[in-house]
Symmetry: C2
Subunit: 103 residues, 2 copies
């Protein structure tokens, strides 16, 4: 695991799952797409189905997931949130720099 | 004190102090401008002088403070930071709304 890889939070994981389910997919694709284990994947999938961001159906005994219109809206909002959060970090860094005693 | 008044952090306090010192001012104006007590005001004033955001001089036995060019730059960056943080809160609220189970 690269050193610079920071711990990913709920927002990043949800975004990765929604992206993975942009086309119908099984739990394995979700696990690899979001870089999480089976238990965590199942917890998020259940939550996303519950709020109507994903639909699920069983095909040949295999559970398949797909994003809904609500899920696409959620995806856009999470992307927006992560972008703003990145901007906030940049702004914070600038201030920290200014607060240093220069000598 | 109004109920909706939220606890103010370092950024808000520094911004208020820098604004108060936009024109030469004494510690009383800082205390009222930033809504803080003498001890807190002194702590922030010392810090802001140390980093070169404020200058101080003694006039008729009274210590006076004034913003510097660096202080003005810091003020702009803090305003920017607070604006972005507000946007982040709005984005977060939208997501929280979408994550609610609608029924």
């Amino acid at each position: 695991m690269p050193v610079e890889r920071r711990k990913r939070g709920t927002m990043e994981i949800m975004l990765d799952i929604l992206k993975s389910c942009n086309q119908e997919c099984g739990v394995t694709k979700v696990i690899y797409g979001a870089g999480i284990n089976y238990t965590v994947a199942q917890k998020y999938l259940d939550k996303l189905i519950k709020i109507g961001a994903l639909t699920s159906k069983t095909e040949n005994g295999r559970k398949m997931y797909e994003i809904t219109e609500k899920g696409k809206i959620l995806m856009v909002h999470i992307e927006e949130f992560l972008k703003i959060r990145e901007n906030l970090n940049v702004a914070r860094e600038k201030i920290i720099e200014l607060l240093k005693v220069s000598q």
